[in-house]
Amino acid sequence: MKIHEYQAKELYRKYGVPAPEGSVAFTPDEARAVAEKLGGYPVVVKAQIHAGGRGKGGGVKLAKSLEEVGTLAGEIIGMNLVTHQTGPQGQTVRKVLVEQGLNIAKELYLSILPDRATATNVIMASEAGGMDIEAVAADTPEKIIKVHVDPLLGIQGYHCRQVAFGLNIPVAAMKEFTKLLANLYKLFVQTDCSLVEINPLVLTADDRVIALDAKVDIDSNALYRHKEILEYRDTDEEDPLEVEASEYNLNYINLGGGGKCRRRDGGERVPHHPQRPQRQRHPDQHFRRHPALRRAGPGRGGSGQESGSESTRGGAHGRHQRGSGPAHPGRIGPEPDHRQEPEGRGPENSGDRRIVSPFCFLALMGEREQKYN
């Protein structure tokens, strides 16, 4: 589950990870009220959406006066923010974080995430933090240091020092940095994060280290033991179809254009006889039985239109496809999108969908009582 930067910063403060003073605001008036309390300029107004890259997309602005805070908040709230993480259709901004502007000496990168291959938690850090970290990772991966922490052992002093020296943290900021990292690790483990990321983590001119940005993703499988985190869920940021599906405990991912879902097998789901869906039932029938899925149905006239009107991530993609003609009767899922995948996968791939998808739908519908032999 994703949460907003302002919520992540709340968590950071709770765990002793320094973040700038600030508060969320839903209107320009509220933004001004927050700025007045901060008592000093510059103040930064930051769009709150579940995606990064806001700085480059124009969603992070510096205000030098109270008046400017109001103006900028007015511009940002309601804007459709397009970043490399939102996809081309962008995301509507509904709130902003108004916080202290800091005097940045250096921007660092710091994150913790589980490393599936080694079953350890890996701390990643780089001196080349800031808005171009993706390029750093792609072009000069050696500039990113990695320190693995055994989850049974937990973080030790030497882990923190290894990262600190790797980042060339000045001696004066050393103690504060290692404390920050240890606290961040604690937050990561205790709230079952699948990612904590600070980009940038800034060094100020007076040798303080502060989390200017804050990203926290939570392992949804662990939410049952974090009721307080569940309060942070913001369904405005999620795909409406996915929200609706989740109300029925369905694991559904809208891939845009037509209906498709992630398989939901293994676990305690009961498998089904492979022949059944192909021979006895058209998979579309399963759509009809559930409103959420029905609307996501593969390109069927009016119902398709409905799912195209929302601001789903694959919206543009979907509209394009729906224009391309009637549904292919034997096909589940969207027509292959030749714009997105220029190499073009044509009919040779339809067999894949025809056979795989019915299982998805069956498993998804949770028809567990069906006998399979």
Binding site: Q85, S111, P114, D115, R116, A117, A119, T120, N121, V122, M124, I133, E134, A137, A138, P141, I144, D150, P151, L152, V189, D192, S194, L195, E197, K215, N221, A222, Y224, R225, I253, K260, R263, R264, D265, G266, G267, E268, R269, V270, P271, H272, H273, P274, R313, G333, P336, Q340, R345, N349, G351, D352, R353, I355, V356, F359, C360, A363, Y372, N373
Partner: protein, 289 residues
């Protein structure tokens, strides 16, 4: 022959009295699996059909002589159940449960690292040696006993589809297993490939991967160096849009790897017969094997 389970498997079911546990235990027994015990804390002394139920794994193992555990415990308690079985000395643990927190699985994985135990799963359909032993939730009758093909998969339902097509082509299986779809799991592709390579009755292998991580790339490299038997591969998720459900730090860890196309290319480069249309996998296998 086969890998990991056979006629000598003596199965213990953790969570045997729950709805899923009960249902699938009966299915396994019906298939011919020797189910010797069940464990449900607090229900020791009872019976599930003819299977004696114990309060803990150590007791079940001591009294019933189980050498394999199948876990149907709900996610909040599943990691604990795996560690209990490992601590009791059970040699093979098959965890079916889906939805275990990653943090829990990381601890489990490190806990069992130096123990003489093999974990299959979690979030997997289990393992079956057709005609001998089924430890899991797969549809038994779809399988054809007698070999000679081994099937290993990260997916559950896709495994059934693959097996179904093999059977339709008249190709039997030695052992079929799902290694599970979770980011942190026990047995990986390479463990299975190694075992299939060493199994005299297995003459070919089908490997079904999916997007995310780099297990398929590593397996492909392993195959190139160590596997002399023909391998047919399939990767699910060719049509998944890049970027969905991938945090940007995650993208840093794996660089460009994790996409279906990347995996397919890696597999092809290592001499694996990659099937790009699941509907024709059976035919491809018939021509390769």
């Amino acid at each position: 022959m086969s890998i990991f389970v056979d006629n000598n498997t003596r199965l213990l079911v953790q969570g045997i009295t729950g709805r899923e546990g009960q249902f699938h235990t009966r299915q396994c027994i019906e298939y011919g699996t020797n189910v010797v015990a069940g464990v449900t804390p607090g229900k020791g002394g009872q019976k599930m059909d003819d299977v004696p139920v114990f309060n803990c794994v150590a007791e079940a193992r001591a009294k019933a002589g189980a050498n394999c555990a199948m876990i149907f415990v709900p996610p909040p308690f599943a990691a604990d159940a795996i560690m209990e079985a490992a601590d009791a000395g059970v040699e093979l643990i098959v965890c079916i449960t889906e939805g275990i927190p990653v943090m829990d699985m990381m601890k489990v994985k490190n806990y069992i690292k130096n123990k003489p135990v093999r974990l299959i799963g979690p979030n997997c359909p289990g393992i079956i040696t057709p005609g001998e032993c089924k430890v899991g939730i797969m549809p038994g009758p779809t399988h054809k006993p007698g070999g000679p093909i081994g099937v290993v998969s990260r997916s559950g339902t896709l495994t059934y589809e693959v097996v179904h097509q093999l059977t339709q082509q008249g190709i039997g299986q030695t052992t079929c297993l799902g290694i599970g779809g979770d980011p942190v799991n026990g047995t990986n592709f390479i463990d299975c490939l190694e075992a299939f390579q060493a199994d005299d009755d297995t003459t070919g292998i089908v490997m079904v991967g999916e997007i995310g991580g780099d297990a398929e790339e590593k397996a492909a490299a392993f195959i190139k160096e160590n596997v002399t038997k023909p391998v047919v591969g399939f990767i699910a998720g060719l049509t998944a849009p890049p970027g969905r459900r991938m945090g940007h730090a995650g993208a840093i860890v794996s660089g460009g790897s994790g996409t279906a196309q990347g995996k397919i290319d890696a597999m092809k480069a290592c001499g694996i017969h990659v099937c790009e249309n699941l509907g024709t996998l059976g035919e491809l296998c018939a021509s390769v094997f």
